[in-house]
């Protein structure tokens, strides 16, 4: 199979076609030839058999007289005459006892195939053999009968005889001898074989010639065009789109060539379009590259600018911090004097003051304190926003802080007639920044006292899930819902009825920021006209945020 494959690959279509033709020829021709030969052989054999039989019968008839008269010369002459005929292998004449009277043997002495007993009646019998000197032989054995002449003369008309009549006749007919004749099939068969060989030779030659011619034409009609197509396809594949296949034929190959040429033309068109597109695409891409480079360099410029701007901003931020620090110091120094000396005057250290003087000095002192608070709040705010606020964590008792806050604001609350109920455990230790926690609580309670005119300000502490909740509930004016979101905004104060309350507008804003700094939060609930509750929740143990 592999060899066949290699052969096909090597010699291609021609080989396949020729092989198919030759094989079909061998099969068909072989079949017909063998059929023909066997027919011919049968026919010739039958003919030979008939000839041999007639010859033997004729000899038997002719020799009757010779035997009867005992004319040896006559018998020999007759035997020789017959023996020299074509195809005769041997002939012999015997008397009724089987003694040979005369014989002629052109190709040797035969082995007798038939005996007298083989003769059932008076008719000839025949047998076929191939054993004599390698030749095929037909042997005929015929009895020589004694005919009664008078009966024979009256017997011109052939009568239909019954079986009994025949048997009766047999007993009357007397066998006086036998003729044995052998006919050789050599000549006949030789003719047939010669014919066969000639047929094989001539027809094979004709077929091989035919195959060669066919191969030649196939080469011209099919194989060469295919090669041309192959070359054409290769040319197109390698980019030669102008390659054309010319045949000047109108058959299928010609049509194929036309289609091929059309295809090449279309391909050329398509490829031209594609190349144009590619060119355009390349141009675009080059353009784009240029643009990208342009933009990139522009962006790099921007980035540099941004970096510079960022550095400037950082410098500015630093300057701002420096400014605030020095401003606060510069502002504080004169405030120190103002607050200190108004304090001294109000304390009467330099002598008594009139009522009017005292009132005015108090205004000076309050204004100075307000200014101081404002400065402190701004410093706090900027510190927290800059992330520079330090947290000093230590363990302290929240209850004590609450008590201190209440004590410090008791005077103001008493002045307005407010109750200040305080609900505390004896001790509640937490870890946080004591000063900042106190700052928040002071802010919350301070606001409550400031805005509440009657009723109470209740302070409460509860511990829950690792958190402490400090609630400050008042019975003040409450906050309208629409104002709730302003509550924690910087420099915003919620409008209240009556007098405007003094404040920096930073208190709650800062408190919330500080609470966040300590890991907690401040929430507010309020019902307008009834009061508000502010709740500070803080973790029991401060944990530094992971930076």
């Amino acid at each position: 199979m592999i060899n066949l494959k290699i052969l096909i690959e090597k010699y291609g279509l021609r080989l396949i076609f020729i092989t198919i033709i030759l094989v079909s020829f061998v099969i068909v021709f072989g079949f017909f030839l063998s059929f023909f030969i066997s027919q011919q052989r049968n026919l010739i054999t039958d003919e030979l058999r008939a000839r041999g039989r007639i010859l033997a019968l004729t000899v038997a008839y002719d020799i009757e007289y010779g035997i009867l008269t005992g004319g040896e010369t006559l018998v020999r002459q007759l035997v020789r005459n017959v023996g020299e005929q074509r195809d005769v292998a041997y002939i012999e004449v015997m008397d009724e006892k089987g003694e040979i009277l005369a014989g002629y043997y052109p190709i040797g002495n035969p082995r007798r195939l038939l005996e007298r007993e083989d003769l059932e009646r008076d008719e000839a019998t025949a047998k076929y053999t191939t054993s004599l000197e390698g030749e095929s032989i037909f042997e005929f054995l015929v009895p020589v009968l004694l005919h009664e002449i008078e009966e024979a003369e009256s017997d011109w008309i052939i009568e239909q005889k019954t079986e009994e009549e025949r048997k009766a006749e047999d007993t009357r007919i007397k066998k006086i001898g036998f003729v044995r004749l052998g006919l050789s099939l050599k000549n006949t068969y030789g003719n047939i074989y010669r014919l066969r060989n000639f047929s094989i030779l001539s027809i094979s030659t004709a077929f091989i010639l035919l195959a060669l011619i066919f191969s030649f034409f196939m080469d011209k009609i099919i194989v060469k065009p295919i090669h041309q197509f192959t070359k054409g396809a290769e040319a197109i594949a390698s980019g030669d789109l102008d390659h054309k296949i010319q045949f000047n034929r109108k058959d299928e190959i010609g049509q194929l060539a036309d289609s091929f040429n059309k295809m090449a033309q279309n391909l050329k068109k398509d490829i031209t379009i594609i190349r144009d597109s590619e060119k355009k695409l390349k141009e675009y891409s080059e353009n784009l590259e240029g643009k990208v480079k342009e933009r990139t360099s522009a962006l790099e410029g921007k980035t540099e600018e941004l970096l510079k701007a960022n550095i400037k901003l950082q410098e500015l931020d630093h300057l701002k911090s420096m400014f605030i620090a020095s401003m606060s110091h510069e502002l504080r120094t004169p405030l120190n004097s103002i607050i200190g000396f108004t304090g001294i005057l109000l304390m009467g250290m330099t002598g008594d003051l009139t009522e009017e003087q005292r009132k005015q000095m108090t205004l000076v002192k309050n204004s100075a304190n307000h200014l101081l608070n404002l400065i402190n709040d701004i410093i706090d705010k900027s510190k927290i926003e800059a992330g520079k606020a330090e947290v000093l964590v230590e363990q302290f008792d929240l209850s004590t802080i609450m008590q201190e806050v209440m004590d410090s604001l008791k005077v103001a609350a008493d002045k307005k007639g407010l109750e200040m109920p305080l609900k505390l455990p004896k001790e509640l230790l937490i870890k946080s920044d004591e000063r900042r926690v106190k700052q928040i609580i002071v802010n919350l309670v301070g606001n409550a006292v400031k805005f509440t005119d009657k009723g109470e300000v209740e302070m409460k502490v509860a511990e829950k899930d690792g958190m402490v909740e400090v609630s400050v509930r008042d019975t003040g004016p409450g906050i309208k819902k629409e104002h709730m979101d302003k509550l924690f905004k910087a420099f915003s104060q919620i409008p209240t009825e009556g007098e405007i309350k003094e404040g920096t507008g930073l208190g709650l804003h800062l408190s919330r920021k500080i609470a966040g700094l300590l890991g907690g939060e401040i929430s507010a609930e309020s019902e307008f006209g009834k009061g508000s509750t502010f709740t500070l929740s803080l973790p029991l143990g401060y944990k530094e945020k992971e930076a």
């Binding site: 620090a325 606060s328 110091h329 504080r332 120094t333 405030l335 120190n336 004097s337 607050i339 200190g340 000396f341 304090g343 001294i344 304390m347 250290m349 101081l372 400065i375 402190n376 410093i379 510190k383 520079k388 606020a389 330090e390 000093l392």
Partner: protein, 119 residues
């Protein structure tokens, strides 16, 4: 009469503190720089030192350390006058060896009570 050394570079502040202390019956020793503070502390051996932290030359923290390192006056209570504005002044002053601190601006009404805790 108890004597208090005030280390303060600002004239008006010095006058204010001086006035309150004298009015409350204390003798005041004035020092205008850190070096002078150390010198006067050693010389006068005051009962208490009021130390401003922001000073020209060596600051209040350094001055405090030097006083603490001087054996003769090492145990003198020192109260720092800290500024709210400057981050960590309180912590730094306690670390440097101050006994306590007061925040500026001072409140004349509570000033003496605060100081007397350390006497």
């Amino acid at each position: 009469m108890k004597r208090i050394l005030v280390v303060e570079d600002n004239e008006r502040n010095m006058y204010l503190i001086d006035f309150i202390l004298r009015n409350s019956g204390y003798e005041v020793i004035e020092a205008w720089t850190g070096e002078e503070g150390v010198e006067l502390a050693l010389k006068e051996k005051p009962d208490l030192v009021l130390m401003d932290i922001q000073l020209p030359g060596i600051d209040g923290l350094e001055t405090t350390k030097r006083i603490r390192e001087t054996e003769a006056i090492g145990q003198t209570p020192i109260v720092a006058l800290t500024s709210y504005a400057l981050t960590g002044d309180r912590e730094k002053s306690l670390k440097a060896g101050c006994t306590g601190y007061l925040e500026k601006p001072i409140n004349p009404e509570t000033f003496m009570a605060d100081i007397e805790k350390y006497l």
